[in-house]
Symmetry: C2
DNA sequence: GTTCTTTGCTTCGAGTTCGAAGCAACTGAC
DNA sequence: GTCAGTTGCTTCGAACTCGAAGCAAAGAAC
């Protein structure tokens, strides 16, 4: 393995970090103005709204948005207090908490979404042709899969029982 | 303007967010283990190390890593306390603070870099061919340029009314 | 020169984030 | 059944982040 990334890799890496940072900042700004919610909260509502049932388990939500469990507990508490979400313990597993989006949550999502789309379109997709976007998606999808499949490095230094 | 992004755009957008989130978490983990520094601190040291003079102004650093000014003051303080960086006021502009990486800073950077490269290679570039990386870089570069050029929406500087 | 405005950085307070520790519910081995 | 281990979520403490407010130096207008 090389001790360094080649210049093309380095450029891609840096641009990736910078592009998402800038995009995230812009989106956060818009979400705050349009609906007074953070990016995390928006992501959570969006995931819930996308679900056929309008609900998810806490853990699945946390994994979905790449977020810590304790952080999710905190944010879910805020969303619940704001009436955008409801938390109920699952009947089949008393430990599990199901989070469900409320009508108010859906309304806020609907209110905020157009501006969100506008920002993403204007910043991320403006300089990209239709084919460019297709190519980008085609490149990122396998990377995403690979990352999802790769276990966290330090999480499994344990041997199987032997 | 469309009320929604088309499916391909949506996929590219989601994958972009998820990929960088996962990558960032992995990198943060590695940096903490290898040198007990955060990602922001690493980015700062890397930028300083890359500079021909080994130094930058505070503002340029903050802009470079897409970070708030106050946050940078805090991190620069930590880095200085750890002896990885020095802060000096510029002679030509008394307001300006120049941050310079120390030998200890360079040493830490050198110590941490190989593992960092390994994580990025293994997670981000593993599923991508050489041409893929070239294509990715070619797609992201113009987006980065566009974002840099596009002024924050609604961040109009306070002007005199009129 | 004086005054108004902008720029560069820091301080402050409020809110957010994480990991570790804690607790209750499920699972498996016996 | 019991007991150990795992899982799902929350609580806690410490650290980080941001924007607003503050201050001093630099620049512009006159």
């Amino acid at each position: 393995m090389s001790p360094s990334l080649d210049p093309v890799q380095l450029g891609a890496y840096f641009d990736l970090i910078e592009v998402t940072s800038l995009l995230r900042h812009a989106v956060e700004q818009q979400l705050k103005e349009a609906g007074d919610i953070s990016y995390v909260q928006f992501q959570l509502l969006a995931r819930l709204g996308d679900s056929p049932t309008g609900s998810h388990r806490m853990t699945d939500l946390a994994d979905g948005v790449v977020y810590s469990r304790s952080g999710l507990t905190y944010q879910a508490g805020l969303l619940e207090k704001a009436g955008l979400v409801e938390r109920t313990t699952s009947p089949d597993d008393e430990r599990s908490v199901t989070v469900t989006i409320t009508d108010a949550g859906r309304a806020l999502l609907a209110k905020v979404l157009p501006g969100h789309v506008e920002v993403v379109s204007g910043l991320l997709f403006e300089p990209l042709s239709r084919d460019d976007v297709k190519a980008l998606a085609g490149l990122l999808a396998p990377v995403r899969e690979h990352m999802r499949a790769t276990p966290p490095r330090s999480a499994a230094p344990r041997r199987r029982k032997g």
